[in-house]
């Protein structure tokens, strides 16, 4: 039993100490039996605090340490490494969560939070007293990854992983790769188009041996855990044979004869789409697809193109991977009906629609047959909402709006751009665009959130009005030919993936990383990582950085062929065990076997097979089984400390 324990209570800046009286917790912990020292620390994870703990362990000859701070999901390994650096076995370190499960959960009740923190720390001390020195166990891991989403981030991560020697299964829910980027024309800062970037990545992917791409594919189910996930992939039929060499003339005829017509999602409803389609000629893969949910199965297209097969069936593919990387991206915010006149006033569109409109209008910018001269951009639609749920800034939209306004002015003559902002956030190099647009004569106006820009229709005119703080609160109006709502970013709808993988989602509805600075691409689900705009509003550059980071993290996790796991194993007391078969019966891993010992039959644990689930513990009638790290004495002493 450990009897020289050190306790460290973290302020976490003020995340803990704003709600928990950390000095009181420290004082009471210091009076516990076998506690040699008790300290508070501003940031226990800081280098200086870590060095102090190392020095204390060495100087005070500590045989156990307790750090009361954040969730162990974040810093368990940090402090285990601290223990190891000081020569203490890492498993003699106990982390007590007084942030997520105390100060934050009870920020409405400071005395209650302090009382709870005291008890949690006491329980931690008890656990440390009974802790054992252990060595981690290793399990084999498959050096293969499933990347979900073949947008820019997913494709870039796939290439990076493949080049590092990891086998990559890349799946895309849509029939074509590229995600949102393929909808955008010229990009800042390189002036390449989104399609050019997508094309370059796709060409690299098809030439890379160890990437297998499936389009129209989604996760159907998942079993197993980190290092060894068994995943079923559901692949929708394309209804065009895979060996089909695209004959453009035939394809055009097939499109012409298709009687089904609906708003084109690629062009945000500005044009119509047929059931057989490609969004643009050079789209990848080059084979067209049929939207079977909308297709009326008339068979007219089959008469023209024999490669069309309306009888194709859905396929299920089984893959085994060590990790999953989610790069499912984001969507533009869809304004509510009536929000700044959207879908009520005819000439109110979104920024994304304007981008497509520029692509579709060659010499003259027109909308619904009317030539456009004055464009009013209304910023922060669906972002920084005062009343709505989206409190966050979508970050990319100021730059995107200004960039688009510059493109409009460069492409068409006689355009006047009016920007109705809540403050322009063209951070970093993007400020260049802001300067350029100002110099070219764009007008920037600004209001506070308490007096938002108004859009209304009056006397045949669409009017945009602002109380402009840049001109001493003057009410200014613009008669706009086109009102462009600069909409923010929201995560894509991923209900089925979310139900299967259970990756935590934050208040902003994007996937939640373990820590935004320290573990920015990992989730609390071991072996499931995130990158790109599924995690937060990011522009393409930032998405690619995040994808490369996640790629490196995935590779370092699974490429060694084995993963270190907790040494949590079942142990059977030979003296009290009288073979009854109950533990063998419930063990999912065949980890318990019969053995003759000292004249009787007993159960023994095959440590190579034991996964440390503990399912055998409660079925033992003689209570002969203990789980390392969760022994009766540890659990029961913690219970006593919590109630004391």
């Amino acid at each position: 039993m450990k009897n020289r324990i050190g306790v460290y209570v973290c302020h976490c800046g003020s995340n803990i100490s704003d709600y928990v009286d950390v000095e009181k917790v420290k004082e009471i912990a210091g009076k516990e039996n076998d506690v040699i020292l008790s300290k508070t620390t501003m940031f226990a994870c800081s280098d200086s605090a870590q060095n102090e703990i190392v020095d204390d362990i060495k100087e005070q000859n500590l045989d156990g340490i307790v750090v009361a701070s954040c969730s162990p999901k974040l810093h368990l390994n940090t402090f285990r490494n601290v223990a190891q650096r000081a020569g203490l076995n890492p498993y003699n370190y106990i982390q007590v969560n007084i942030r997520e499960q105390c100060s934050w959960a009870h920020s409405d009740n400071k005395p209650g939070a302090t009382e709870k923190a005291i008890k949690l720390v006491r329980a931690g001390i008890e656990r440390a007293k009974h802790s054992q020195a252990l060595t981690p166990i290793s399990i084999p891991s498959k050096n293969a990854v499933l990347v979900v989403g073949a947008g820019i981030a997913g494709m870039r991560a796939a290439i990076e992983l493949a080049e590092m020697g990891t086998e990559v299964f890349l799946i895309e829910r849509e029939y074509f790769v590229g995600g949102r980027a393929s909808q955008w024309n010229e990009l800042f800062t390189t002036n390449e188009t989104g399609r050019e970037v997508v094309s370059r990545l796709y060409n690299k992917i098809i030439k890379t041996k160890n990437i297998t791409l499936f389009t129209g594919a989604d996760i159907d189910s998942k079993s197993g855990s980190v290092g060894d996930f068994d995943i079923k992939i559901k692949i929708k039929p394309r209804h065009v044979k895979s060996g089909c060499v695209l004959d453009l003339e035939k394809f055009k005829k097939a499109v012409d004869v298709c009687p089904v017509e609906f708003d084109d999602p690629f062009n945000f409803g500005l044009t119509k789409q047929k059931a057989i389609y490609k969004n643009y000629p050079s789209e990848f893969p080059e084979i067209p697809a049929i939207d079977f949910d909308r297709c009326n199965k008339c068979g007219e297209c089959v008469k023209i193109c024999p490669d069309i097969d309306l009888e194709q069936k859905e396929e299920i593919l089984n893959i085994n991977v060590g990790a999953v990387l989610l790069t499912t991206g984001a969507s533009p915010y869809e304004p509510q009906k009536g929000e700044f006149g959207y879908k009520e006033i005819d000439n109110v569109i979104t920024l994304q629609q304007l981008k497509r409109l520029i692509d579709l209008n060659e010499d003259e910018l027109t909308y619904h047959g009317k030539k456009i001269k004055n464009i009013a951009y209304v910023y922060c639609v669906g972002s920084r909402q005062v009343d709505g749920e989206n409190k966050y800034c979508s970050r990319y939209c100021c730059t995107s709006a200004i960039h688009t306004a510059i493109m409009v002015k460069e492409k068409y003559k006689g355009i006047n751009n009016f920007h109705f902002t809540r403050g322009v956030r063209t951070y970093g190099k993007q400020e260049i665009l802001y300067n350029k647009s100002s110099k070219q004569g764009d007008i920037f106006l600004q209001s506070f959130e308490d007096s938002p820009t108004e859009v209304y229709h009056e006397k045949g005119q669409t009017v945009v009005k602002i109380k402009d703080i840049l001109t001493a609160d003057k009410e200014l109006e613009v008669n706009a030919d086109l009102v462009v709502l600069v909409t923010g970013m929201v995560p894509r709808e991923n209900n089925s993936i979310n139900n299967i993988l259970k990756v935590p989602i934050g208040r902003d509805k994007f996937y939640n990383e373990i820590h935004p600075k320290l573990r920015p691409v990992e989730t609390v689900i071991d072996g499931v990582l995130i990158a790109g705009a599924c995690q937060a509003p990011l522009n393409i550059t930032e998405s690619v950085k995040s994808a490369l980071s996640a790629g490196a993290k995935v590779n370092s996790l699974i490429s060694k062929g084995e993963i270190e796991l907790e040494p949590t194993l079942a142990q059977i007391d030979k003296s009290s065990c009288n073979w009854c078969d109950k533990c063998t019966d419930v063990c999912p891993y065949n980890a318990i076997v019969k053995k003759e010992y000292d004249g009787k039959t007993i159960a023994v644990v095959n440590e190579a097979n034991c996964k440390g689930c503990g399912i055998c513990l409660p079925v033992c009638p003689s209570n002969s089984i203990q789980l390392i790290g969760y022994t009766d004495v540890e659990i029961e002493s913690m219970i006593e400390a919590l109630i004391d």
């Binding site: 709870k116 855990s225 399912i615």
Partner: protein, 130 residues
């Protein structure tokens, strides 16, 4: 402080990979629940021994809640069934000891089930208070 003296004390057995992240997420989202709820985590909810639960009651906890893995368990497909058996056995032992079985509850809490967890805790505290 006053409300903590009277509020029922609940011991939650959470699981490291599944339900504990949900309880963390509740804190992260500042979803409040009574501060007399204490958590001990284990690898899998099917590993919880009846004696631990009975020990909690003997020492003074008013309620025990098993935040079970449910069908998300990465260890075993039988987790739900086995955890159910733990609850059933413990309910029988509680009856023998004259403890109301309603003081032991179980629900599957997935890794993103912060809202259901908070709701369970509030309902359980209310039920125990009455």
């Amino acid at each position: 402080m006053e409300k903590n003296k009277t509020a029922p004390k609940i011991l939650v057995f959470s699981t490291e990979k599944i339900s504990d992240p949900a309880i963390d997420l509740a804190g992260l989202l500042k979803k409040h629940y009574p501060s007399t709820v204490y958590t001990i985590n284990v690898p899998c909810s099917s590993a919880i021994k009846s004696r631990w639960i009975l020990h909690a009651f003997e020492k003074g906890f008013d309620g025990v809640f098993i935040a079970a893995d449910g069908t998300d368990c990465s260890y075993s497909e039988t987790c739900t069934e086995r955890t159910g058996e733990v609850v059933q056995r413990t309910h029988d032992l509680m009856k023998e000891k004259g403890i109301d079985p309603a003081k032991l509850k179980m629900a599957a809490i997935c890794s993103v089930c912060s809202e259901p967890f908070v709701k369970h805790m509030k309902n359980f505290v209310n039920a125990l208070s009455n």
